[in-house]
């Protein structure tokens, strides 16, 4: 085991897969000589050179589309969209092309492409550099959607994403890059569609995405001191979704909170909650709750930003209300 930063875990996954498979290459803005805006590709250009670590012009549609075309014809590109907010510019290539071409051509195409990006608020990046837009891509059939919350998950899931034969949107969190965690020295993969029970509990289930996993753990710690036992479940991949693990947790606790930074309205949390209602209503002692981002653009000033993004205190309050 080594203690690695999340960004190092990402980089190690990329490096290992590039060594394993000569078809894997990276493209994106500032990923080469500069090492990536969040330094997740640092050192890879020095190691693999211009051909396999490709700095691009500032052209998200071309980055995504070129990755799709290369993936269709025998390569395994990992394309970086620097901020998930910028995915708007690349969205046709991701949602209309990568996601659909296999189906549209009757299954002929294999498109092994990974779109790496990062989302999340918490450092005053304001409305166009802090959104969490996983619901947009999760909505489109044909895309797998991954949100690693720890260095361990980031590495194992990214290696799986690169080996997957279909398009994967891999969403990192900008405030997790500097988080350290244990990562095995030996190789491992984490399959998609397997949620992780991060903390066991008996009174309330919190299903948390991305950085909200850390906040949910803090809330659980605080609530434990009051004698409330919280189970924290991280789906890790929202497409495919491990509903079974979530349902088993709700069977035990009878209470469900879903939490993510993304806007509440039409968020992934709504989808998870309704799937639990459809399949496990009998187990629910109380209606499920969403503790998610407020339905406003992300504001700049820290005090306002903290207000619109769910905090530990919001989770604690919501749990207390559910168990009262």
């Amino acid at each position: 085991m080594s203690q690695l930063y999340y960004r190092q875990a990402i980089r190690d996954a990329l490096r290992e897969e590039m060594h394993r498979d000569g078809r894997v290459f990276l493209l994106g803005l500032d990923i080469g000589r500069f090492g990536g805006t969040y330094k997740a590709t640092q050192g890879l250009w020095e190691e693999f050179g211009d051909e396999r670590v490709r700095d691009t012009p500032l052209s998200e549609a071309a980055i995504a589309g070129v990755a799709v075309g290369a993936a269709m014809t025998g390569m395994r590109p990992v394309a970086e969209i620097m901020y998930m907010d910028f995915i708007t510019i690349a969205l046709d290539q991701i949602a209309n092309q990568a996601a659909k071409l296999t189906y549209m051509c009757g299954g002929q195409a294999r498109i092994p492409v990974v779109f790496r990006t990062q989302e999340g608020a918490g450092r005053s990046s304001a409305a166009q550099h802090a959104q969490s837009l996983e619901a947009w891509v999760a909505h489109i059939p044909g895309l797998k959607v991954v949100l690693p919350a720890t260095p361990y998950d980031a590495k194992g899931l990214l290696k799986s994403a690169i080996r997957d034969d279909s398009p994967v949107v891999f969403i990192e969190h900008k405030l997790l890059y500097g988080v350290k965690g244990e990562v095995p020295d030996e190789e491992y993969l984490i399959p998609f569609g397997q949620a992780r029970i991060v903390r066991q509990g008996t009174d309330v289930t919190i299903v948390a995405l991305s950085r909200m996993v850390m906040k949910a753990l803090e809330a659980a710690e605080e609530l434990a001191r009051e004698g409330i036992s919280v189970e924290v479940v991280d789906p890790r991949t929202v497409v495919p979704l491990d509903l079974e693990t979530i349902l088993a947790s709700v069977e035990k606790t009878g209470r469900l909170i879903v939490t993510h930074e993304a806007y509440t309205r039409c968020g992934v949390g709504a989808e998870i909650a309704i799937q639990v209602v459809e399949n496990g209503l009998h187990a629910l002692k109380r209606p499920p709750r969403r503790v998610c981002g407020r339905n406003v653009p992300i504001p700049f000033a820290p005090v306002m930003e903290n207000y619109v993004i769910p905090q530990v205190a919001d989770l604690v309050k919501s749990v207390r209300e559910l168990v009262s």
């Binding site: 052209s59 071309a62 589309g65 075309g69």
Partner: protein, 331 residues
């Protein structure tokens, strides 16, 4: 995969007669396929939209004659001509237009999305301009795999106003990719004439912004198209990078079948129809004694017969089961 030997360069009478015959056959195939598809569509046999490329036959015929079998193309919503020229079969195309299981896309794509990866047809795109970055990616892949393959990306004049086009063309220039951007300038983006789409005199001028050559040719002359495409393909294959090839042509029909196309002056349509690319080419072939009138007529007959067999094949082919809609997603 067979590798086509390059045709000798030069004017019509310097070109290998076999190549002229092949280009002619391709144009006849496109012409009849499009005419028959219109009839079937008007008779209510085909669901969906139909975007006809009648009148534009010389462009795909000329460009694809300059490609190797293992080269790639990307196509558009007006794509039947491109995929016929790249070697796709009438029967499976027609079956796709009918939405049958025997179609190239098992009825999941339809007229706008015919693809055959085994023939290098990387799909026809319903989003204008969206095939251009994909084609550029295929060119990157060819460059990285060192296969010597070249990509021809087909698109219309309208697509050159899309950001995706500009982004991809610029990237291809920066990376010196083996690609030919083939603009079929048919002078209208749906109803909007080129004069209201851009302030430049030719689409080819756009190439200057990326730093690679832009060439304009008569898109109704298959040999002019072929010669320009051959030069561009050679340039791409030998590491010279991209070319923008603007082929000026005209679609005889409206944007889609059913579009009355009242935005076009009747004299303009008549002017272009007088310059029918197929009839003009056939006159030349006949004048130069490359084909007799009889031989030309025989080609038409053969193509018509093949087409009728394809229509029958499509009509007799199974309709998909509703739940077939749930298959062929990425695994």
């Amino acid at each position: 995969m067979s590798v086509q030997t390059p045709a000798p360069s030069g004017i019509l009478n310097a070109v290998d007669p076999a190549l002229l015959v092949r280009i002619h056959l391709t144009m006849v195939r496109i012409r009849h396929f499009e005419q028959r598809a219109i009839e079937l569509f008007m008779a209510g046999e085909l669901p969906g939209f139909l975007h006809s490329c009648l009148g534009q036959e010389a462009v795909p015929a000329g460009v694809c004659a300059a490609l190797r079998e293992d080269d790639y193309i990307t196509s558009t919503h007006r794509g039947h001509g491109h995929v016929i020229a790249k070697g796709l079969r009438f029967d499976r195309m027609m079956a796709e237009l009918y939405g049958r299981t025997t179609g190239y896309c098992k009825g999941k794509g339809g007229s706008m999305h015919i693809a055959d990866f085994s023939q290098g047809v990387l799909g026809a795109n319903g989003i204008v301009g969206a095939g251009v970055p994909i084609a550029t990616g295929a060119a990157l892949s060819a460059q990285m795999r060192r296969t010597g393959q070249v990509v021809a990306a087909f698109f219309g004049d309208g697509a050159t106003s899309q950001g995706a086009f500009h982004e991809a063309a610029n990237l291809a220039a920066v990376w010196n990719l083996p690609i030919v951007y083939v603009c079929e300038n048919n002078h209208y983006a749906v109803s909007t004439p080129v004069s209201r789409q851009m302030r430049i005199n030719s689409v080819a001028q756009r190439a200057a912004a990326y730093g690679f050559p832009g060439v304009t040719v008569d898109g109704n002359d298959p040999l002019a198209v072929y010669e320009a495409a051959r030069a561009a393909v050679e340039r791409a294959r030998s590491g010279g990078g991209p070319t923008l090839l603007e082929c000026r042509t005209y679609r005889w029909m409206g944007h889609y079948i059913g579009d009355p196309a009242t935005y076009r002056p009747a004299e303009e349509v008549a002017w272009w129809k007088e310059r029918d690319p197929l009839a003009t080419f056939e006159r030349k072939l006949s004048e130069l004694s490359i084909c007799s009138q009889q031989e030309i007529e025989r080609v038409h007959e053969q193509v018509r017969a093949e087409l009728e067999a394809a229509v029958e094949f499509a009509r007799q082919s199974p309709v998909p089961a509703p739940e077939d809609a749930l298959t062929d997603l990425p695994q």
